[in-house]
Symmetry: C2
């Protein structure tokens, strides 16, 4: 068996195959573009040029031996859908496929693939960064709760966590403080906050949003 | 002034303009494809079809009044670079541009833009998810430290935080536990861990990796 199969070496597929190989995993790549296959062949376990992604070609290449296959063909929607179905019918346990639109994604999902939307996902993340300038990073825990890294303004400069009664006042627990090159993970009540501190907090999402607005 | 200007309504640009507008921000969009402009015009403040992105056309459209402009032209590298330079020379305070390769990105950076690589970024994130199946999510704090959400195996089932001497043994602080529909943010020493709990931890990245391997 081979851990990962990547079909399609566009910007998404090529980077994916590279990163999986960099992480020490075995990767099999297929593409109809010879120069792309050449570009990556020294970095991956196996790399083949294929003329079409029909079942017999995929079987010959060994796709059915992959634990996870990621179909990274976007623009060519027909090829994306047909290739994905062939891979699923070859019995690969986990099949992930890139989609370039909501309808494209619905078809892929219907036939049994997990769908990723690379351009849209990055746009959503960038829109979040642009509309919430104090929220440096974010981790969703559940519908209600999240962890957020927030850049402090001067509103809390010099105040201590105890003095602010931070948890009671903002409904958030401070997990860590990044101050320049230093990361503080042992949070004590007498700690003084400073402007430009990056503080990681956990709590309800609405509390996080309120806190960001409070700082503005 | 208008908050955001988006030039290029490809998969990335269209989603970005939509998300910014959904977040209640004013958006000006420009593209040479009339049907794309029509598709988005009811969702954004201003939308124009432009024949070429030269300085006078951009000025006529009002790009110089934007606080942030995001140039979302990828495939057409020449248009991406020239448009980005025109926007920068019109004095827009913050200019972000999409790149489809490392060299493309280097040119954009050289002329003064912040660069995003949507397909590559999503590939990096997917590669991380695929090679670290217990790491559900991740937030970088600094070079050394991170917050990670980890799915527990049965190795720690029924054990308490105190009984494990969790912090001492694994070098990690538990921030929150997501168990089914419940999120626990008040972490007490007598809390019993369960298989399939999603626990958010903070600590050194190497400690996080060791803990993931320990669970496997
Ligand atoms: N029928 C096919 N058989 C094999 N390879 C294919 C086929 N169709 C497309 N490819 C390859 O898959 C890769 C990606 O295809 P395509 O350009 O359609 O996707 P994309 O989503 O637009 O790519 P990107 O990730 O660069 O945005 C290309 O390298 C292309 O050569
Ligand atoms: N010179 C130009 N002037 C105006 N609009 C342009 C120009 N060149 C491209 N565009 C528009 O920008 C959008 C994106 O362009 P392009 O397809 O080159 O980028 P892409 O990065 O491949 O897109 P995607 O985000 O879909 O991957 C398209 O809608 C296109 O019509």
């Amino acid at each position: 068996t081979i851990a990962f199969g990547v079909i399609g070496l566009g910007r998404f597929g090529f980077s994916l195959a590279e990163m999986l190989a960099d992480n020490g995993r075995e990767v099999l790549v297929l593409d109809n573009n010879e120069s792309k296959v050449r570009q990556i062949q020294d970095k991956v376990q196996q790399a083949f040029v294929i003329t079409q992604p029909d079942k017999s070609t995929l079987e010959e290449a060994g796709i059915q031996n992959c634990g996870t296959v990621i179909v990274c063909i976007g623009e060519h929607v027909e090829a994306s859908i047909l290739t994905t179905l062939n891979v699923i019918e070859l019995g690969v346990p986990r099949v992930i496929a890139k989609a370039i639109s909501a309808e494209h994604g619905r078809v892929l999902q219907k036939i049994g693939a997990e769908v990723v939307y690379p351009e849209r996902d990055r746009a959503v993340r960038l829109a979040n960064t642009l509309t919430r300038p104090r929220a440096m990073d974010y981790l969703d825990l559940s519908d209600q709760y999240a962890i957020s890294e927030i850049r402090l303004s001067n509103r809390l400069h010099g105040k201590t966590i105890l003095g602010l009664e931070f948890r009671k006042r903002f409904g958030l627990n401070i997990i860590a403080i990044v101050r320049g090159n230093e990361t503080i993970v042992e949070i004590t009540p007498d700690l003084q906050l400073k402007t430009e501190d990056l503080i990681a907090v956990v709590g309800k999402k609405e509390s996080i949003l309120k806190f960001e607005r409070y700082l503005a």
